[in-house]
């Protein structure tokens, strides 16, 4: 009995210690953005890898999400004779929810797991220790640069996803449902208020932070050789996906509470 209690206690202590380490890493990485050296070239390199490298998957995500949403929305609106207003449904749901969440999940799969495996390999091959030995702060060089790149590029990718999704919706609305172009875009924009823009940009900012920091934390805490690298990559992908969905719920709840 005592052994079981001790084990449970140790497990919870382990979780608490991991949360504490993660919070500490987040603060140190964020603080790194405000002190020299700046590693501008490195940050631009990561922006290119995270941003430009992910355009293809977010375009695919956006276009198919927009198309399927229009098809399903038209079926639901048909009994009320409201099919022409389907663009209102598409734009509101894409900008507020689907665009940020789906783009973030795709980026978590591509970028988050990439960051985790890269840092994990550096950790198990002693390259992170070598950086410290060479007098470089590995958190600033490896994590702060990726964090800045993610915070800039994930919102940009989300805006692209939103735009492409609305375009995908238009293709179906125009060619399959025969909705007039002007009508589609007028109602698509009519559904959006200024706060939707804030709403649609705040979420990807938080998601970008989650994807990057979870990937970095999983990477630099890796142990156990190549098996550990695989474990960290999976762990980063699963944890960031769950955190994206959970944080999305709480952010939506908070925005509704504030009356946005």
């Amino acid at each position: 009995m005592d052994l079981a209690v001790t084990r449970i206690e140790d497990t919870f202590k382990g979780y608490a210690a991991a949360v504490q380490d993660f919070a500490q890493l987040c603060v140190t990485a964020a603080a790194g953005a405000f002190r020299r050296p700046w590693y501008v070239q490195e940050t631009i390199y990561h922006m290119n890898r995270i941003g430009v490298g992910s355009i293809f998957i977010v375009v695919l995500t956006g276009i198919f999400t927009g198309m399927v949403l229009t098809l399903q929305g038209a079926i639901q609106l048909e009994p009320y004779g409201a099919v022409p207003y389907v663009s209102k449904l598409v734009s509101a749901s894409v900008v507020r929810e689907l665009g940020p969440v789906l783009a973030a999940l795709m980026i978590a799969g591509r970028v988050g797991s990439g960051i985790a495996s890269e840092l994990a390999t550096m950790q198990v091959t002693e390259q992170i220790d070598a950086l410290r030995a060479e007098g470089t702060d590995p958190i600033k060089k490896l994590i702060t640069t990726r964090l800045i790149a993610s915070l800039v590029m994930v919102p940009v990718l989300t805006v692209i996803t939103d735009g492409i999704a609305m375009m995908g919706g238009y293709l179906i609305a125009h060619f399959s449902l025969s909705i007039d172009t002007f009508f589609y875009w007028t109602w698509a924009f009519a559904a959006l208020g200024p706060m939707d823009l804030v709403y649609g940009l705040l979420k990807p900012l938080v998601f970008g932070f989650i994807v990057c920091m979870v990937g970095c934390y999983a990477g630099i805490t890796t142990s156990g050789g190549t098996v550990g690298v695989g474990h960290s990559t999976t762990h980063a992908m699963v944890t960031s996906s769950i955190l994206i969905l959970v944080s999305d719920f709480f952010m939506t709840k908070l925005f509704i509470y504030w009356g946005w």
Partner: protein
Amino acid sequence: MIRFSNIFLKFDGRQVLQNISMDVPAGQTQVILGGSGCGKTTTLRLILGLLHPESGSIVINGQEIVGLTERQMASIRAQMAMVFQGAALFDSLTVRENVGYRLWEEGALNNESIEQRVAESLRFVGLEDTLDKMPAELSGGMKKRVAIARALACKPKIILYDEPTAGLDPINTHLVSELVCRLHREEHVTQIVVTHDLECAYRIADRLIMIHRGEAIFDGSVDALQASDDPRIRTFLRPEEVLAEPGCFPHKDGGIRVVPPMSEKAEQAPA
């Protein structure tokens, strides 16, 4: 000058180092000998400030480093360089960028001077034609030599080596050992070499310390080590004599443990 006094270190409740003390005078080459997992590499990590001891004192060039923060350690690390066991070259950088990494990061020299220093360091290890190669294109021995060039480029006062000859063929082992000797002779660098390669150790050491299960069991010259009658040292130095009989294994107290052959066990088992 490096002084280790009464260092204790625990990992997950396991005592890794117990009461380790040693003095390494400036310009000398100290070898740390011992079997796998005895705490040799941990000792180097303590000197570099990558780990912190549970108790004890580590003084480097007159400055106590136990309790220093990462930022405070920066000035101490600037005097040191380390050659890691797997070389730990940065995968994404070329040999040139790896060797000149610290110099470019510090930004104290202009580009031309750094290029010159990089070329000099690579010439010292005989790899001046690998400047634009990536680490993945190099053999194990070449990687170790580039790692030595990287350590050399910033002209450190102290170089730490973690198993510099592990996994190398005899030619590369000779080359790496020779480089360590040359750095001692020509540059008068203080060096600490962790190894279990006895041939290399005898060749480069001014003084040796032997660690067994986290404890220092010998500190002295090569001759004194070879003359030692401590069973743990004898087993390490001459296993072919001490463990000559089939089924003999070293015991943790330094004695010998005899395991009966499998066929004998199988004969005894049924009943």
